[in-house]
């Protein structure tokens, strides 16, 4: 019942917002309460590692629409609740058309339906809906650059979803079902047949365009940097994570671990290289999203239980602190009137204290220092890496993260800024509290076996060492000379790269 109500209530709220313009803000608060109640009920249902599922339409599993929720869905639903709440509080003093709230509700509804979807076609429909909604959100302010970037986003993701649908067609022809758990059973034996490779590479390519895997998601940096800060928080915190969730579901069924490992490494390292070479604050954050998605994809590619737990924990933690980073960066940019980090530093006395503190918490979490959210996922992902090579890659990505964030260091020097806005403080708190209290929160939410897996090892010293080493690299290596090409982000080039990326995935799937 909850599984149907949670997405559907948002579609109801969005149409109510459309009908009643003045009450849109109040309706959003009401819907937040409804969500909290429903997610609480959901937690009651899945609390001991159980799964609740419901078949719609009465056609059985292989034909009908199945929705199901387990602990993964639960923690991501909580992430959606927190990020959505923080964004709506952050915007509560800004005058917006009610149309924005309509889109916000549609976005949350799509997010919840993706989390519970159990068949590949339902995932296709909800991903496309999510694309449409985020397309409209990116272009909300109607500036020329926003319109162009969102158009590019729509065209590239529509191509990606076309590729995904082609994979679905091949899959349905051979396997006769699109339900994920049924597919798991049917693919169990002949996993290396050619059609499995073709369809799984098509599906992975299609989802990778949405999920922020680097050679595919070339629309991402511009879209996240150009949109309103609140929209950037939604996109980076939630929408990208939905692609990751779908990749996780695919990786559980198809033999795609080698492509995911290679793509993850590539995403991580290239994301870092671009992040190091840019001085635009929001572009820096966007490239960071890419590099951290690479981290997650490596974890999914290894695919053991430890790594999957780590990936879920890190994805949720990353959603929280990346949303906080975008919101705080929005305040920083609004108060200084600058985009470039070097000019922001000149005007740093104008930055309010709350934005400074929020930025500090989020950056520390992103660096993976203990008590903060980023630490747990990173620690689990590192401890589960079996070979030295993979461990080196993960550590290299972490060090690169430190190097590119140290540019922001002078922002945190103490100084009394101008007066702070209360609604923004509340919204920052809403995200910072779960970031700081991540470990008790996860202990309370996750089933026991996940938790014991997460805390077999506790490499706090290692994470501090990574930060120290990153500082040394920042001080002594000539990272400022790194220049990355910009032409890859143009529309035509990005299309060519997506297609050649598909061939790459195909080739990699053929490897044992």
């Amino acid at each position: 019942m909850i599984l149907v109500l949670l997405p559907l209530s948002h579609f109801v709220f969005s149409s109510l917002c459309l009908a009643w313009h003045r009450g849109a803000r109040a309706l959003t608060q009401v819907s937040w309460g409804v969500d909290a109640a429903l997610i609480g009920a959901l937690w009651w249902g899945v609390r001991h590692g159980k799964t609740i599922s419901v078949g719609l339409g009465g056609w059985g599993r292989s034909l009908g629409i199945e929705l199901s929720a387990d602990w993964v869905g639960l923690v991501f639903a909580l992430l959606a609740l927190l990020v959505g709440g923080a964004v709506s509080v952050y915007l509560s003093r800004v005058t917006l058309r009610s149309y924005f709230y309509v889109l916000l509700h549609l976005l949350l509804g799509c997010v919840f339906s993706i989390l519970f979807a159990q068949d590949l076609f339902n995932i296709y429909v909800t991903l496309e809906l999510l694309t449409l909604v985020s397309f409209l959100l990116v272009g909300y302010e109607r500036t020329s650059i926003q319109i162009w970037v969102s158009l590019k986003y729509l065209m590239l993701t529509a191509l990606g979803m076309g590729i995904y649908l082609l994979g679905l067609a091949v899959l349905y022809y051979h396997a006769g079902t699109v339900n994920l758990s049924e597919l798991g059973v049917r693919l169990g034996t002949g996993a290396q047949q050619p059609w499995v490779i073709v369809s799984s590479s098509l599906l992975v390519t299609g989802v990778a365009v949405k999920a922020g895997i680097f050679v595919f998601s070339l629309w991402l940096p511009a879209a996240h940097a150009v949109a309103m800060p609140a929209v950037g928080a939604l996109l980076s915190g939630l929408v990208i994570k939905m692609g990751v969730v779908v990749l996780m579901r695919l990786a559980a069924v198809f033999p795609v671990s080698v492509p995911l490992l290679v793509l993850g490494t590539m995403t991580g390292l290239l994301g870092i290289a671009y992040a190091v070479s840019t001085y635009d604050l929001r572009k820096l954050l966007a490239f960071h999203t890419l590099s951290q998605i690479g981290y997650l994809a490596v974890g999914l590619g290894i695919g053991t239980r430890v790594e999957l737990t780590g990936a879920v924990e890190y994805a949720v933690g990353h959603g929280l602190f990346k949303a906080l980073l975008f919101l705080a960066a929005g305040t920083v940019i609004a108060s200084t009137g600058q985009n470039d980090i070097r000019s922001i530093l000149l005007w740093r006395s104008r930055i309010p204290v709350n934005a400074r503190l929020a930025l500090l918490v989020a950056v520390l979490a992103n660096l993976g220092l203990p008590p903060f959210a980023g630490f747990f996922g990173k620690a689990v992902l590192l401890s589960g890496a079996e070979s030295v090579l993979i461990e080196t890659i993960l550590i290299a990505i972490s060090i690169g993260t430190v190097v590119s964030f140290l540019k922001l260091l002078p922002l945190f020097w103490w100084g009394r800024g101008p007066s702070t806005s209360r609604s923004q403080s509340v919204s920052f708190l809403l995200l910072s509290v779960p970031i700081v209290l991540f470990s008790p929160l996860m202990q309370w939410l996750l089933p026991e076996w996940c938790w014991s897996l997460s805390f077999r090892t506790f490499p706090a010293v290692e994470s501090v060492l990574i930060v120290v080493f990153g500082c040394l690299v920042y001080r002594f290596l000539p990272w400022r000379r790194i220049r990355m090409p910009d032409w890859v982000f143009h529309l035509e080039e990005a299309t060519v790269i997506i297609i050649s990326g598909f061939l790459l995935v195909c080739g990699l799937s053929l490897l044992p």
């Binding site: 496309e128 076309g162 649908l165 082609l166 529309l491």
Partner: protein, 119 residues
């Protein structure tokens, strides 16, 4: 079945659409090419699951054993609607761009927007 069937046609159409997306610089034609790509996947999905001489899939029909598989058709219906929505929305945004820049050339628009951003 011969060499020319729904599947091969759909693959050819997919290729034509891709070439259009890559090589044509007119945004409207690009969107048409995108529509071609998406429609060709729909054709592929339907024609892979075709059954010669099958009856219309209606419950309580005359003979339930020889009906075509209804699932792909149900899937295709939602895919068509989604593609329509994408094309319609994208065309609206192209219209806004054309009003501001008086061209549909994607390279020129991208160049002008980049130069606006840097100045």
């Amino acid at each position: 079945m011969g060499a020319i069937n729904g599947v091969t046609v759909s693959i050819v159409l997919f290729g034509i659409g891709l070439l259009g997306l890559i090589f044509r610089r007119d945004l409207v034609i690009k969107l048409l090419a995108l529509g071609l790509v998406n429609s060709s996947t729909i054709l592929c999905l339907v024609s892979l699951n075709v059954r010669r001489g099958g009856a219309v899939p209606i419950l309580r029909g005359p003979d339930i054993r020889h009906v075509v598989d209804p699932l792909p058709q149900a899937l295709v219906l939602s895919a068509i609607v989604i593609n329509f929505a994408i094309l319609a929305l994208a065309l609206v945004f192209v219209m806004l761009l054309v009003e501001r820049y008086h061209t549909t050339d994607s390279r020129r628009i991208e160049h002008e927007i980049d130069s606006e951003g840097s100045s």
